[in-house]
Amino acid sequence: MAVKFEKLGEGTYVLDVQGYVCPHPQIYTKKALEKLKSGETLQLVFDNPSSGESIVAMCQTEGDDIVEKSQDAGRTLRWTIRKS
């Protein structure tokens, strides 16, 4: 399973790191957010809960907003992050 990082539309990107464990999801997320401009959003899809803790803290430090969080029955987490 490969990492997917694609542009969905104007100012909207998706990063899918399902199947990856620490430290992959948080490092890929950091690198993806570095690619975005201020105000653009990243839809993050992952299934490693402990990475979520690091991503929350990383966003707090950088000032990025996690504007939406959801989790489906298959334990897949889908977060939307707006770059500060």
């Binding site: 997917k4 620490c22 803790e53 969080k69």
Partner: protein, 483 residues
């Protein structure tokens, strides 16, 4: 959500399903059954169960706080997140205070490790490897409990790497300094150990045994036992270094983000302390886990020593002998029995037991043959602790709807195995892992743990550099947007 408090994934999760509650109850029931059943068969299994239930508490705490030393170092350098490093420092402070109290009662099972460069080298190898695996030695156990097969691969590779490393010679013997061989030869070891052959035998007998170890309380020469343990061991060796590290972490990894949100506060010590305190309390789960781990780890030393007195033993080998279990004891009739929170050595014993069943002779080395033995997994009380760390974590993961059986891709599996092997080698060279060579040592006044931590940090930093390079290279090839 209170300002500055990290929201956790648990808060967005669903209510625990009935099926998961039943599964969690089944796991608890299994361990209860093991405890009660073995106790009914022989009351001396209480010693095993003590390890088991402390391991269970460790597993629950580790999973609840996502407590992982790999994360502490890696996330600090890779993504600038200090959350876990802070949690570990909290645990260090608390464990050191409880340990001091336990030492004062005369019921500490702790012995200081020798002071030497080996701690830095072992820590560096271990730290470099753990960046790639996704978890430290304990982190891999709790993640196994969450259903991660990759973490289980780390546990296996770490275990087998240790078991093989302590026994092999050949080309590795060419790396042995002549002084080690001479020193090992001078010690008149039993002939069956062949102590002048094999890298690790000569490392132990020719180098480690010639080093001296002592606690800071002893080094400072405090005559008063209270001052020795609370000022020397706890304050000087654990609390002050932890506070200094917390200040450094605040300055370089937290202050900027915090000040951005609190630019209205007047500059000065009060603002800096408020920011520092915000960092310490930012992740409640991690802080709570650190608190429970610190308290439980200290209490375990007291309980294990009390049980040793109850059964009139100094080592579990005597208990096994009294129970009629003599297979797998070392030539001193002992087995590995630290009496406190420890991982890696018992897992190496488990791997050695499997390899021995496959026909390998692993008893002709100091590590297994003379010091630790190779008891069968079910006759290895410390290994019960490793099993129950997985069990405790599984219960917490099920209750938080976070258990998911995840099989690794080939890429993740290779990272897990390669990193696990390095962690195994590092833990043998460093005489322990992030727990035995760091957490349990610095908190008991043993400064060797800080040497291991320094190496682990340097290795982790290098590992992050390598990992970043590898990810950028990979994404440049695979993702249209690159990284």
């Amino acid at each position: 959500m209170a300002e500055g408090v990290i929201e956790t994934t648990e808060r967005i999760g669903m209510a625990t399903s009935r099926a998961n509650i039943l599964r969690a109850a089944a796991v608890v029931g299994f361990f209860l059954l093991v405890s009660l059943g073995t106790y009914a068969a022989d009351a001396r299994y209480l010693y095993f169960s003590a390890y088991l239930w402390f391991g269970f508490v460790y597993g629950m705490s580790l999973q609840y706080g996502r407590f992982c030393m790999a994360s502490a170092i890696r996330d600090l350098f890779a993504v600038g997140v200090p959350r876990m490093a802070v949690g570990i420092m909290i645990a260090v402070v608390l464990f050191s205070l409880v340990s001091a109290g336990v030492t004062l009662t005369g019921r500490s099972t702790f012995h200081a490790s020798p002071i030497g460069l080996y701690s830095v080298v072992g820590g560096a190898i271990f730290g470099f490897g753990m960046v790639f695996t996704g978890g430290c030695a304990t982190g891999s156990l709790y993640k196994t409990g969450e259903g991660s097969v990759a973490a289980l691969l780390v546990v296996f590779s770490l275990s087998f790497a240790q078991a093989i490393f302590v026994d092999v010679g050949g080309v590795l013997d060419l790396l042995v300094p002549a002084s080690w061989t001479a020193s090992a030869a001078a010690k008149s070891m039993p002939a069956q150990l062949t102590a002048t052959q094999g890298w690790y035998d000569q490392f132990l007998a020719g180098y480690i045994w010639d080093l001296k170890g002592l606690t800071v309380g002893e080094a400072l020469g405090f005559a008063d036992p209270v001052a020795r343990v609370f000022i020397g061991n706890s304050l000087v060796n654990a609390i002050l270094p932890a506070l200094v590290l917390l200040a450094v972490i605040y300055r370089f990894y937290y202050r900027k983000g915090w000040l951005r949100k609190h630019a209205d506060l007047p500059p000065g010590p009060a603002r800096e302390f408020a920011g520092w305190w915000s960092m310490v309390t930012a992740s409640r789960r991690t802080a709570v886990a650190g608190l429970v781990l610190g308290l439980a780890a200290g209490l375990q030393m007291w309980v294990m020593q009390a049980l040793q007195q109850k059964f009139g033993i100094a080592n579990a080998g005597e208990l096994l002998t009294a129970m009629g279990i003599t297979e797998g004891l070392s030539m001193q009739d002992t087995v590995f029995d630290p009496g406190y929170f420890y991982v890696t050595t018992q897992e190496a014993q488990g791997a050695a037991w499997v390899l021995a069943k496959l026909g390998m002779n692993l008893r002709d080395n100091i590590f297994f043959g003379m010091e630790n033995g190779i008891p069968a997994p079910l006759a290895n009380p410390v290994l019960w602790m490793s099993f129950s760390v997985i069990g405790g974590s599984m219960v917490m993961a099920l209750l938080a709807n976070e258990f998911k059986l995840k099989f690794p891709t080939r890429e993740i599996a290779l990272w897990a195995i390669g990193g696990g092997i390095l962690m195994g080698l590092g833990s043998r060279v460093g005489l322990g892992c992030n727990i035995g060579a760091f957490f349990a040592t610095v908190t008991n006044g043993d400064p060797s743990g800080w040497l291991f931590a320094a190496g682990m940090t340097a290795g982790g930093w290098l590992g992050v550099k390598f990992f970043n390079w590898w990810i950028e290279r990979k994404m440049a090839k695979e993702a249209p947007l690159g990284f």
